[in-house]
């Protein structure tokens, strides 16, 4: 379950503003750079960027993320394999969003069956990526 401050929405109409710490997993160094920059500078998130699923699994405990953004096609452990490995870790039940160019309806349904809460289509717009993450996060929060 996502971590949030329950009082924030018990006392007012505002939903939690968004995840504080994001674990971002992407093998492409240029995409990793621009997305990390966008999530930090535009979104104000704290981002731990990993270049592989293996690195994400090994750093998960240290990073203690609220949310994982996970590329699907990666060498070694791909996105689905990484998701499965994260789920086996203590605290590994946090929301995971896949990022992929493969976003046909049946593909999205498959990602959801694997346990992803949503999918962000590639290519993404760096300027709107943070808001997309926030929208997905809000959709996961219980109604006030």
């Amino acid at each position: 379950m996502p971590r949030y401050e329950p009082l924030c929405y018990e006392v007012g109409p505002m939903s939690p503003p968004g995840p504080r710490r994001i674990l971002f997993v992407e093998d492409d160094p240029d995409i990793r750079m621009v997305a990390t920059m966008a999530l930090e500078a535009v979104g104000g998130f704290s981002v731990a960027a990993c270049g592989s699923g293996m690195e994400a699994v090994s750093r998960f405990d240290e990073v203690a993320p609220d949310l994982v953004l996970l590329d699907v096609m990666m060498p070694g452990m791909d996105g689905p394999e990484t998701l499965a490995a994260l789920r086996r870790l203590p605290g590994g039940g946090i929301p995971v969003i896949f990022m992929t160019a493969r976003v046909q309806a049946n593909e999205i349904a498959g990602y959801r069956e694997m346990g992803a809460v949503d999918v962000i289509a590639k290519p993404f717009d760096p300027m709107t990526l943070s808001e997309t993450v926030r929208e997905i996060w809000r959709s996961l929060q219980p109604e006030a």
Binding site: D28, D30, M37, P75, P123, F124, P126
Partner: protein, 100 residues
């Protein structure tokens, strides 16, 4: 980074990225269009297509996407891709790099 800075950044990265794709292509050909070398070539073409689109280089993305499709078909069927088509995609990408 605004759009122009993104475009410019990636234009600077493109020679190295294309060289990596070309090396993967040589390795895949040497391996008879099978196994891990073919998967790596496909993945790098896929990444280049995605990065090209993200960084405002649609012409790079389009050529890389075409290459990705050829390689995806080869992976799915076990049949080698049409080499002239592979070479055409790589030549198109190389032309873009050399034109700057």
């Amino acid at each position: 980074m605004d759009d122009e800075e993104l475009r410019s950044y990636f234009a600077g990265r493109l020679p190295d990225r294309l060289a990596e794709v070309e090396r993967a292509g040589h390795a895949a050909r040497a391996a008879g269009w099978t196994g891990e070398p073919l998967r790596t070539f496909h993945r790098l073409a896929h990444s280049l297509a995605g990065a090209g689109a993200t960084f405002g280089h649609p012409e790079v993305s389009e050529l890389a996407r075409g290459l990705e499709r050829l390689l995806k078909a080869a992976l799915a069927t076990g049949q080698p891709p049409e080499e002239s088509a592979v070479n055409g995609s790589l030549r198109g990408l190389r032309d873009l790099v050399e034109r700057g």
